[in-house]
Symmetry: C2
Subunit: 193 residues, 2 copies
Amino acid sequence: MHFEELKKYHFILASKSPRRQFLLKDLGLDFEVVTRDVDESFPEHLKAEQIPLYLCEKKARAFDEELNDNTIVITADTIVWIDDHVLNKPENYEDAVRMLTLLSGRMHKVFTGVCLKSNEKMILFYVVTNVYFKKITPEEIDYYIRNFHPFDKAGAYGAQEWIGYIAVEKIEGSYFNVMGLPLKELYEELLKF
Amino acid sequence: MHFEELKKYHFILASKSPRRQFLLKDLGLDFEVVTRDVDESFPEHLKAEQIPLYLCEKKARAFDEELNDNTIVITADTIVWIDDHVLNKPENYEDAVRMLTLLSGRMHKVFTGVCLKSNEKMILFYVVTNVYFKKITPEEIDYYIRNFHPFDKAGAYGAQEWIGYIAVEKIEGSYFNVMGLPLKELYEELLKF
């Protein structure tokens, strides 16, 4: 399928993330944003990419009853993975300090799972990026939390915020994956759909 | 110096690039944008990082007469480097096709040189990022050039445009460097200024 043929589909992006909406728009697809409240818990034995894959499939299945032939729903879930554990959203100031201190001076992995689903077909895939933080100081951590309140962010940081600008030494892989939507891989999977 | 102490300086960003203005703003510094027309030619024997370092110093020196003690001027220059050559802005449609065909399926390097200059001191530094393009089709190249007219872009592509979204397989290094302003390194050099 050529890119321009994709325009025959009706796309639903099931994500409240303004960043994902912005990225998908820039890819040049028309879509509407429809979100369903989905319980974001997952079985404890899941690890690494299994978690976002499980959650994005769950988010997509919430649309099972309402898809028709020309509709594709797109869902995504992003996690921060370090020391064999997932970092969720921080509960309070101290929890955010703990997470950023853990990330300081080290590499962590960001996994995004993506689900594309019509009433006939489903594609699940994930992308992983290695992110290297420089050592950040307690003053930088405090400044960031006080000014940016990253309590809605997995791992207590946004790559497109002050801390991402000053702390990320290098990445290996897709930057858009770190932002929450791996565009190149999404584009390739859509062409194969 | 702590980040908050930087606020005592008056910063001038000497760049017309909206992307650089946007990134510096997000870093949290107050600055004004002042540009001078500078001849962007450079000696032919210069290679790789020598080119943006030469050009950003030239851009900063255009402010020599008007800096005072608390003013720091920030300039930057970004180039695309492949096969031991720099890719400039494409002259026309065919030239853009030639450049994007050259980048297709291969790694190239993006160098950004940055100059920080007061009336007492100058810091010059550069950052390099490896960018890997997947193989792109003639249809994708044609679609991109027709819709995005990348004639003001070195190497005929913008990382934050459609072609960047679909073609960039991975990067090694700083993404903000590819966008034209390596924020983490800029922040570190400013703290040392």
